[in-house]
């Protein structure tokens, strides 16, 4: 039995039925890492000893016939921007090259309590700033579908690790698309929850009003299972929201009859590659066959979303990154990489005296208009669909020196962050032998509705292709 290609659901069943042990499952993951990591470079740190201990704990519970949580004994890879007590966390930056966190993020505590097994910490663009993982200070992660291409970013290590089956699931973070876009590029599932759904305590902040943690998985059902564990109010994150967390698997009915999907013309515009557009349109036709109603909608303000994003995000980032002064932790500020310096400069400029009103405040106001526009559209449709990324995975090095061109790759994912809406990317087909992601955006707290649409698509048009490693 091949263990590394299991989903969370299947691995959980296998553990319960004693088809294999948690130690065996973890061992097979590390054997696969041994084989392919040198080719993919998804990890910044492997936690083999810890993983073994955690897996043994699960096996002990199984041997005592105790009831098993869904994530118990299941190997996870975590983006290295989420702090883990006593385990080096670098944010992909030289400034934190030897940082050992004295505490854990709330979501890591939740996962530890759920009994999951930590395989390692994954590569990312420095401080999650980028869309290709090329901005990591340590290594460049390769796309398992074509190692000459980027895995997307900033959660590129997590998405590549799931795609290459070097973990069963992973966690990423999404500020302007950093879960959904790499999930799209690597042919896996990634969901960014509603802002405030998941605690950000212990997530090394980039832009506090936009950042959100979420799962990257092989299936939609797995994403729901992880969301069940990591969602919820946290008194240590005052921006998290105290709303009951439903069992997200209960939404997965496979029935989307009569559900209205809004398709904004602006999201299929001239910047979208022809092959991406065609693949996504085919996916929408398939959803129509399954009983969903496709409705044309318009979100004219999404034109300005990128401009708003590239003022608000660097402003918040420049403020958040002021803490790295080499006193309490970390190295001197010169050690920041190029993209981080660029964003600190952009943000400091936008917040500086004489410019604040014209730049930051103006952007925060247009942000309100973007939100309002989404709210209006959600009065007439249940969810919104579009491609996740306007382009296919691009070649390594192709866009590094052109920030504006690199930023344009975020154009379809950024609006959901600005409005705080949940969004999912699922693989919906191949174009030029590379995966294409379908993005579904829901209204606030409507993760259940986008999960069910994604699930229904997946059940009927399973994306069974795998990268050839």
């Amino acid at each position: 039995m091949e263990l590394t290609n299991l989903t969370i659901k299947k691995a959980n069943e296998g553990l319960k039925n004693k088809q294999f042990s948690a130690v065996e499952l973890t061992k097979s993951i590390f054997e696969r890492i041994e084989k392919f990591e040198s080719k993919i470079d998804a990890f910044l740190l492997l936690t083999k000893e810890l993983a073994k201990k955690q897996a043994e704990k699960t096996d002990l519970l199984i041997s005592e016939n105790q009831s098993l949580n869904t994530l118990m004994g299941i190997p996870v890879a975590i983006k290295d921007v989420i702090v883990t007590k006593g385990i080096k966390t670098t944010a992909g930056s030289k400034i934190l090259a030897d940082f050992i966190p004295p505490y854990s993020a709330t979501i890591y505590e939740s996962l530890e309590n759920a009994g999951t097994v930590l395989i390692g910490k994954t590569n990312l663009d420095e401080f999650a700033m980028g869309g290709s993982t090329e901005n990591s200070a340590f290594k460049v992660t390769k796309n398992p579908w074509d190692v000459r291409r980027v895995p997307g970013g900033s959660s590129g290590g997590s998405a590549a690790a799931v795609s290459a089956e070097m973990c069963i699931y992973a966690l990423g973070t999404d500020t302007g698309g950093s879960i959904r876009q790499p999930a799209s590029f690597c042919g896996v599932v990634g969901i960014k929850p509603t802002y405030g759904r998941v605690s950000r305590y212990g997530l090394i902040a980039m832009a506090s009003s936009l950042d959100q943690i979420g799962p990257i998985t092989k299936t939609v059902e797995d994403a729901a299972l992880v969301l069940n564990v990591i969602s919820g109010w946290d008194k240590r994150d005052s921006t998290s929201v105290d709303l009951e967390v439903p069992d997200y698997t209960k939404f997965l009915t496979g029935n989307v009859r009569g559900v209205k999907i809004g398709v904004p013309g602006e999201f299929f515009g001239s910047g979208v590659d022809k092959s991406v557009k065609e693949t996504t349109e085919t996916a929408l036709k398939r959803l129509e066959q399954l009983g969903a109603k496709i409705v044309e909608v318009s979100l004219p303000r999404s034109k300005e979303a990128l401009a708003v994003y590239y003022l608000i995000m660097p402003s918040e980032a420049s403020s958040n990154l002021a803490r790295y002064d080499g006193v309490r932790f970390g190295n001197e500020r010169e050690t920041f990489g190029s993209e981080v310096k660029r964003r600190i400069m952009l943000g400091t400029y936008a917040l500086s005296s004489g410019y604040y009103d014209a730049y930051y405040l103006k952007a925060a106001k247009v942000r309100s208009l973007i939100q309002k526009e989404f709210a209006e559209v959600f009065k007439t449709v249940d969810l919104i669909a579009s491609p996740t990324s306007p382009v296919l995975p691009f070649k390594i090095g192709e866009r590094v020196d052109n920030p504006l061109q690199m930023y344009l790759a975020d154009v379809l994912t950024v609006p959901a962050n600005l409005a705080g809406l949940p969004g999912i990317s699922i693989p919906c087909g191949l174009a030029q032998e590379l995966p294409v992601g379908l993005q579904l955006i829901g209204d606030h707290w409507q993760e259940g509705s986008i999960l069910n649409m994604a699930y229904t698509y997946e059940q009927n048009f399973l994306f069974s292709e795998k990268p050839k490693l």
Binding site: E304, R333, Y359, P403
Partner: protein
């Protein structure tokens, strides 16, 4: 009007940000920041935002408070474990006042 940022402004922002830059970086950012800011502003300045309130928290949470009571935090040792400049159990910082 095309927005350009001068080299002098970049140097000023770099000192505000406490971010030492090499000469080559000053040159590079002068061009790149002008480009990005110009792109952003050319789009935003066309939009009427009169009577629009700025967004802070997207789902409307505001002024979250807790009781003003002490809570357990990091131990002194934990707080200091990542510093490179410690002195007798304290963080060592650069002087901010000098003798006249």
């Amino acid at each position: 009007m095309k927005k350009t940022i001068s080299k002098k402004e970049i140097e000023h922002v770099s000192s505000l940000a406490n971010l030492p830059l090499k000469n080559s970086e000053v040159e590079k950012f002068t061009v790149q920041l002008s480009e990005v800011i110009d792109y952003n502003i050319s789009l935003l300045e066309k939009i009427n935002t009169e009577n629009v309130l700025p967004t802070a928290h997207v789902t409307g949470a505001s002024n979250i408070q807790r009781a003003d009571e002490t809570q357990p935090g990091l131990s002194q040792q934990e707080a200091l474990q990542n510093t490179k400049s410690e002195h007798n159990g304290f963080f060592k910082v650069k002087p901010i006042l000098s003798r006249g």
